[in-house]
Amino acid sequence: MTPRIDEPLLRAVGFRKSFSGVPALRDGQFTLMPGSVHALCGGNGAGKSTFLKILMGIHHRDAGTLLRNGREVSFDNPSQALANGISIIEQELSPVPAMTVAENIYLGREPVGFLGRIRFAEMNRKAQTLLDSFHFGIRADSLMMDLTVAQTQLVEIAKALSYDAEVIIMDEPTSALGEAEADQLFAAVATLKARGKGVIYVSHRLSEIFSICDSYTVFRDGAFIETGSLADITKDHLIQLVVGRPLTEEFVKENTPAPAPVLSVRGLAADHGVRDVTFDLKRGEILALYGLMGSGRSEIFDRLFGLSRQTEGRIEIDGAPVTIHSPQDAIRAGLAYVTEDRKGSGLVLTSDVRSNLCLATLGRLSAGPVMNARAERGAAQRMIDDLKIKTASDRLNVSNLSGGNQQKVVLGKWFLTEPRILLLDEPTRGVDVGAKREIYRVMSDFARAGGSVIMISSETDEVLGMADRVVVMRDGGVAGQLERAELSAEGLLHLAA
């Protein structure tokens, strides 16, 4: 029985959900038509992921009705959702690290032969074909733990697509991706759409939404606000719906670099093929490291921050050579590092917002060995206010925050250290439009006050908007440098590829 074309694949009304009495979703509504790519928009903490998890049977709703092809359904667990043709790419990456890519993709659907024996060869072949069809360039038999965050994201995409589901939920699938990989995903989405499937797409990158989606639904503070066709609205209108007040997407940039270099990197080598990297960072400058996925940008940060082995190369701060063996050394030298993997190396998920915010500044917030609770509270509150972190309290467990708000906690932790040099690896990952502006403002203010920033970003717009200078990386080496005046999207891509 094929559903009528005007019959929605999925229709949700009046979804409600609270966590320990705090409502996360008050009135979730959504209608997904076949052959459509439907954007679910909303600020950080608007309830998007909560809504999608309910659809998938990961959470249980407190109230609401869900119709699948017109039939009322209710999923107790994800396997029922899968059986009903719904698959998901979750916002938080969730690999099984010690298993291969192929095993992760076909987890629960392994081809089996005699005696329940898995046909590994067949599974690897299928997985490889799948990955190759999206040009992801990942080997199906590599271990998940050996992949970078971006590659892990690609595998999760491949996995969700491999279910051949009718409804595919994508919760910020591109937040960890470079543009080339994102384009592969968009091509896949277009194919799905052409085949009459429905895609629910969540992203804070509005340009993406306008280029691949056809309809939109906006949530704000857990409630349904508006739905419609993207063709009928402008970007600014959408932003206004999301943020709740008029706002244009723009970059805040008021710093001017001084000529004196603060940090000089000479002939640096790092793990995984990074070699002979030389560049200067000036006082008051925002420098971008640009490159394709896997070009070695994060490795440079790891090395600068004392997380990987000291090998070749010199690092000078204010003209004096420094040795950095550990993060302690780096912090002492005035560095701060927002890593790209916020779950793996950014947050202590078992602790609350306040402890996470104060984690790198405990020494400053204590009198001798004893913590000054008031100072901790004050510091945390300052960051919550400055970055508009949406949390019920600073004692809430950080794992209960929405993805974007978690990212802000990591940023806040490092801002509190009052560093001289900020290393930001994908700082606006998963952050909504409103908050992005706040982050840009903080960066700009920081640089204006004499601090220096190196940022890695896969969003070319962000690089163009914020960077004073760009160092372009290719295959672990510096491919060239561009001054702000020379910047263009084509120029960057040309050097990087």
Binding site: K17, F305, V348, S351, A360, V370, N397
Partner: protein, 343 residues
């Protein structure tokens, strides 16, 4: 107030490291925080109904005194488990600290320390140092040489027991001075010294874990060692220190035990690690690290102590005691709906 918040912070809804999501939603916050306390209360009410003697001040003192040793061990264990470690060697450290300290406090000719007995301060200091040294060895293996805590402390369990037997020749060390025995049998204002020590250790540990920088470090290292490292915490030093703390506290427990029994037995403390870990886990601390609090541990230790005491008071036959104890522990934790394994 502040402390309250701290406690709340330390024990969030779930036990696992991931997706505490669905967890907290189902249960009211009160049961969440006090589940195991409720279990303890239920047990106490039932016992006071069926036994006239249970709620006498004398029996309460008994329970507390009997709990003090396991309680002190479990508090040290809490530090270790919060960093994702485990310390299986506590029972052997109990014996070694007891025997070594006693050898400085015996009036008997068995004492082979010239000049023994010394004034109580000497053997007590020696005992604590012994525990700290053993803990430091385990800590070194774990923190410096990346030996899994289970293996490092299992090795210590065996080695420290052997050393204790060698040191003592397998014989008890009897006839301890009154000064030494005071920490096991003395009292201050009617409250037995072991209970006072238990209280002090609890208060201090609670303070350290909730109010000091080191305490914050312990939670962070257990919650996400990688993030802790990136944030500039001295992860290795913290890992090392928790074993030193556990060793030191095990030594105190060992000396209380020795002072209470009146002679140091090299075979003391066998299998104590299981009860200590049980108290920690029953008290809501996650073996996955980063989540837990020392108040929970004390409640867990009391639950075990009350159970042992109650079943003795009721004169339940020993075979049946074992069955009932096993069932009660599981039931208590099930009643404490707050904790759920990740899934």
């Amino acid at each position: 107030m502040d402390v309250d918040n701290q406690i709340k912070a330390a024990v969030p809804a779930g036990a696992g490291t991931e997706q505490p999501r669905t967890l907290s939603s189902r249960i009211g916050p009160v049961a969440q925080r006090y589940g195991i306390l409720i279990a303890l209360a239920v047990l106490c009410v039932v016992l006071s109904l069926v036994s006239d003697n249970f709620l006498t001040s004398r029996n309460i003192i008994n329970v507390l005194r009997q709990t003090s040793i396991n309680g002190i061990l479990a508090i040290g264990m809490t530090f270790v488990i919060l960093t994702r470690g485990i310390d299986l060697s506590v029972g052997s450290v109990v014996a070694m600290a007891g025997v070594v300290s006693a050898s400085f406090a015996t009036t008997s000719a068995v004492g082979f320390i010239p000049g023994a007995p010394y004034v109580a301060a000497v053997p007590l200091a020696v005992g604590v140092l012994t525990g700290i040294a053993l803990g430091a060895l385990s800590g070194l293996a774990v923190a410096r040489f990346a030996v899994p805590a289970f293996v490092a402390t299992l090795g210590m369990l065996s080695a420290a027991r052997g050393l204790t037997l060698i040191y003592s020749g397998g014989r008890p060390i009897p006839a301890l001075t009154d000064g030494y025995r005071w920490i096991g049998t003395g009292d201050i204002a009617g409250i037995p010294v072991p209970i006072i020590l238990f209280g002090l250790v609890f208060a201090l540990s609670h303070f350290v874990l909730t109010r000091t920088r080191f305490g914050r470090h312990v939670y962070a290292v257990g919650g996400n060692p990688h993030a802790a490292k990136v944030s500039g915490l001295p992860v290795r030093r913290i890992r090392f220190l928790v074993y030193v703390i556990s060793g030191g506290l095990a030594a105190i427990a060992g000396m209380i035990l020795t002072a209470r029994t009146g002679s140091a037995l090299p075979q003391a403390g066998v299998a104590y690690e299981l009860d200590a870990i049980a108290a920690v886990v029953i008290g809501g601390t996650s073996l996955a690290g980063g989540i837990g609090r020392v108040t929970g541990t004390v409640i867990g230790a009391l639950l075990i102590g009350v159970m042992n005491n109650g079943l003795d008071l009721l004169g339940v036959e020993s075979y049946y005691q074992q069955v009932i104890k096993g069932g009660l522990i599981v039931a208590a934790v099930m009643l404490d709906r707050s904790r759920r394994t990740e899934e």
